[in-house]
């Protein structure tokens, strides 16, 4: 994974880059994080990453302040009021995880009109004056098939575990998987179930469909469902297929056990909550006067056979594998979009 570095390495690169990276231009700038929700482990990890990385940046004098604000309730009107308050408080940039892609456009426009840089990530906004750091869910689905094509040159039957029906993310990932299968015609999706991104639901759904399926070579997933699928397969006398994981702690733990026991090989892909720090550095670069395209794409956090242990160690029990981004990573993402 090109973006994945250990914290130590990124810190080292950051220090090395410091003398010639143009941070003089932003040393008096203040950046605010406007966040709409903090009620799950992903968001908590996102806020912790923000504090860790921006705290260091403030100490190093790269920016003057980087304060995080979370609305008390996940409501559009409240976040709009929060953004207006941030405008009044005179922040130079607002990094935004939005409650609604459209509902905040009025407030975002007001921020832009006040000369404030607005960078939205994860929950992006459609207002043209804002920057967007979006997740390419389609590619996340497609990359799984790509990986499988490398592993299984003969192809075979796939079982697809989808997410929550009717949610845009589920449609995107699934569309990516189906496009990948079209590209690599040796694969065939033999069955498809909804696992709702939850291990227990996935286990029940897979156990239910398994008796009706032919031999399954691999399971493509959306994250949060790999462990449940593995449990369902383990309960039968079928051979364990390649199950693509989603960076959750239980998934990585199970993978590690299998790897140690019988050399089980797979990969794991998801979005790191540390994407908030990527948005922070992008905002800093924009404030620094760098020409940044309005639409950027979040790199995935991919875990492979050789960096499994290291990632598992850094993942909290019950949490998601995380990575904090550096200024260098942000530059790389910006250059990739140019």
């Amino acid at each position: 994974m090109r973006f994945h570095k250990t914290l130590l390495a990124s810190a080292a690169i950051l220090c090395a880059a410091m003398p010639f990276s143009a941070n003089a231009g932003t040393s008096d700038k203040r950046i605010a994080l406007s966040n709409n929700y903090a009620g799950n482990s992903w968001r908590q990890a996102m806020l912790t990453s923000w504090d860790k990385v921006t705290g260091a940046a403030v100490e190093a004098g790269t920016v003057a302040a980087a304060d995080a604000f979370t609305t008390a309730e996940n409501q559009v009107t409240e976040q709009a009021a929060q953004i207006q308050n941030l405008i009044l408080q005179g922040y130079d940039a607002i990094v935004l995880n939005a409650a609604s892609p459209e509902g905040l456009n009025g407030a975002v426009k007001e921020a832009c009109d006040a000369g404030i840089t607005v960078v939205s990530f994860d929950g992006i906004v459609t207002e043209p004056c804002a920057w967007r750091i979006a997740v390419d869910f389609h590619e996340m689905g497609r990359s799984q098939i790509e990986y499988l094509a490398g592993r299984l040159s003969d192809g075979g039957n796939l079982l697809e575990i989808r997410g929550l029906a009717g949610v845009f993310v589920d449609d995107e990932i699934s569309a990516g998987i189906h496009d990948g299968v079209e590209e690599h015609s040796q694969f065939k999706i033999a069955g498809s179930v909804h696992g709702d991104w939850a291990q227990d639901v996935a286990q029940k759904a897979v156990a239910g469909i398994l008796p009706s399926l032919p031999d399954i070579e691999a399971v493509v997933t959306q994250g949060g469902d790999g462990y449940g699928a593995a449990q369902a397969f383990a309960a039968t006398d079928r051979e364990m297929p390649i199950i693509v994981m989603g960076n959750r702690h239980d998934e990585l733990t199970w993978w590690k056990e299998q790897k140690d026991a019988n050399g089980y090989e797979t990969m794991s892909v998801s979005i790191a909550p540390g994407v908030s720090t990527l948005a922070f550095w992008v905002a800093q670069q924009i404030l620094d006067g760098k020409d940044v395209p309005k639409d950027l794409t979040v790199p995935f956090l991919r875990i492979d056979q050789d960096n499994l242990e290291e990632n598992l160690e850094n993942t909290e029990a019950g949490g998601v594998a995380n990575v904090e981004y550096s200024q260098e990573d942000a530059l790389e993402v910006i250059d990739a979009a140019m």
């Binding site: 409501q75 559009v76 207006q84 459209e102 456009n105 009025g106 407030a107």
Partner: protein
């Protein structure tokens, strides 16, 4: 000429004082807010809340309570962002029908003697359902004129302040100065005596509900004018905010005792309280609690003044 302030004026003093002291605190914390743009940013989201509060006040004036206010404003916002933008010829009748539905609700509640809380709670699901049908995913566009109205920059005073004053004056005129307003408050005060005097309490209640619907429609359009697009859940908070605004502004749950100017001030105070806490940098975990604390302090102050008022009267 009596120089002693009337009880209505005393009722207005607490909300006005709490707004003034909150405003002073905000200015002290954030001097940047003390400007044309600053005031507009502080208060523009209060305009739809003020309209919804007036709507809630009209319903409370006839001793009822509307728990569907937030859902209804969300529904109107969705209509405004879709039909009113694409085809006003279809959008306007829908909104008129929505107002008529409100009046009809008043009729049904009156004739069948139903508890308004239960009926409006049920209606809230209907409004939310319709809103989701209209806009399953957030989107839509604000009608040009709504956007223009909410972003207009009148001279001297920002739009948010101008709009608040206009809303307060209009509501004051309707509720306190017109014979219809007297009738509505009379129904809240003593329904039977109003009927004995030959007035129709049914018409008064239907009128109050219809007018409330009209103000709520205005709230939804104003909200879309600010946000530029809608969402089926955009105004769910307005139910409780509008009730709190009425009470904060000197209104009572029963007895037809309401104050339109106070209600607008109450809505502004509630909005400002949020900004104040955010400027104080209170952690979000505590903010809801702190908001509640501000409410309780203001209400306690009012209770205290009420007691003084009663003592004066007894003398």
């Amino acid at each position: 000429m009596n120089l002693r302030p009337s009880s209505d004026t005393i009722r207005l003093i607490v909300p006005a004082l709490s707004l003034a002291s909150l405003l002073a605190a905000v200015f002290w914390l954030q001097p940047r807010a003390m400007s044309y743009i600053g005031l507009n940013l502080l208060f523009n989201l209060a305009v739809p809340i003020a309209l919804a509060t007036i709507a809630q006040m009209l319903i409370m004036a006839v001793n009822n309570l509307d728990l569907s206010m937030g859902a209804f404003v969300s529904f109107v916002a969705c209509v405004a962002a879709t039909f009113l933008y694409d085809s006003p010829l279809l959008g306007v009748p829908i909104l008129v029908a929505a107002v008529a539905a409100y009046a009809l609700l008043g009729v049904v509640i009156h004739l069948r003697n139903l508890p308004s809380i239960v009926v409006t709670l049920g209606m809230s699901f209907i409004w939310t359902g319709l809103a989701v049908l209209l806009l399953p995913a957030p989107g839509g566009h604000a009608p040009e004129w709504a956007r223009w109205l909410m972003t207009a920059k009148p001279p001297l005073m920002p739009m948010a302040i101008v709009a608040s004053i206009l809303i307060a004056l209009l509501a004051h005129f309707i509720v306190m100065r017109s014979s219809f307003g007297v009738l509505v408050r009379g129904v809240g005060g003593n329904e039977r005596s109003v009927e004995r005097a030959g007035w129709s309490a049914l018409a008064a209640r239907a009128g109050a509900y219809g007018l409330a619907g009209a103000f709520a429609v205005a709230a939804g359009i104003a909200l879309v004018g600010l946000t530029t697009s809608a969402d089926a859940n955009i105004a769910l908070r307005y139910t409780l905010l509008s009730i709190a605004g009425v009470i904060l502004g000197g209104g009572e749950f029963v007895g037809g005792r309401v104050s339109p100017i106070g209600a607008v001030i109450g809505a502004l105070t509630l909005t400002l309280a949020g900004s104040f806490l955010s400027f104080l940098r209170i952690s979000p975990d505590w903010q809801i609690g702190a908001q509640g604390a501000i409410l309780i302090i203001v209400l306690a102050l009012r209770l205290f003044l009420n007691r003084i008022e009663n003592r004066e009267r007894r003398r």
